[in-house]
Symmetry: C2
Subunit: 183 residues, 2 copies
């Protein structure tokens, strides 16, 4: 057994120093990739604004219509409704939005016929989520947009989120929220 | 005590047959009036559509805008939102509205500035309440309108309620409801 053992060890040593070394490097690279990927997966949902499931049953805050004469027409033309979950409704009352507050702006195309303007397909939804621990660089608000009716087609980058906040932050006395609840 | 008792009875008898008789007739008349009045009170709230307290927190069904080119502009020009309580939401799903369903159409004036149309003061709300026992002549639906922000200034008469139903009843397959829930 003693004699048999040594050559095997040597063989193993030879493998490590040849094809085995390449395999180890390859496996290390794979492990690094998996670790990086899983860390990125863990980081992403932590910052990502969740799709606001069920928002159509939330409270309707107010509505406006962006017409062709508006400079915002190209990006946001049509009708848009704002919806608020229960916590965001506390924010409208107190001026301070607690963590868990979610606001949705629902952008719809419009159709006009004989003076009657009705709602068309959804262009996108804009979402603001309050989480003072996650979104520390944007006033505690996370910003996202979902294209059309999609719950996964996200339109906001870190750069555009910063732009969202740059504008919203002008509303200091109302915790970065533009809208007011119409009674 | 026996001698004292009789004259008192006689005196009482005399009162009943003179001034007392007039008092009895008067009291009977008062009682009749009170009964009639209380019956009328009972009849009125039984048919009256209650003000839909808290409807702004109900589900927002859909929105349309009635512009100057519409024949409905004079009466209903502006933006209007439809809200539904929980039972009415069952109706949108099933096509059959259970008793207790309430639908509100919220009519608001609009303001336009640089292509942006926003909500103005409330013109009125139109209310439909389902109660198959109360509103037997109008398909189980009670109809009412409240002027502006008032909870008491009612605009619908029995005659106009019949007109409301005459039009709504064309929607037979959807239990006399025109609107559909926009998802």
């Amino acid at each position: 057994m003693g004699d048999d053992t040594m050559p095997i060890r040597e063989n193993t040593g030879t493998l490590v120093s040849g094809a085995g070394r390449r395999r180890v490097i390859f496996l290390a690279l794979v492990a690094t990739c998996i670790t990086t990927w899983s860390l990125s997966l863990r980081a992403k949902p932590n910052d990502a604004v969740p799709y606001p499931a069920g928002y159509r049953q939330w409270t309707h805050v107010k509505t406006a219509l962006v017409g062709p004469q508006s400079p915002a027409f190209e990006n946001s033309g049509g009708i848009h409704h704002i919806y608020a979950n229960e916590k965001a409704m506390e924010g409208y009352r107190s001026g301070k939005y607690p963590d868990g507050s979610v606001l949705v702006a629902d952008f719809l195309e419009t159709r006009e016929n004989a003076g009657l303007t009705t709602e068309g397909p959804r262009r996108r939804i804009d979402v603001m989520v309050k989480d003072s621990k996650r979104y520390t660089t944007t006033g505690g608000w996370g910003f996202e947009q979902f294209r059309g009716d999609s719950q996964t087609d996200r339109m906001v980058t870190a750069e555009t989120a910063a732009k969202c906040f740059a504008c919203h932050s002008n509303q200091k006395e109302r915790d970065s929220v533009f809208s007011e609840f119409r009674k």
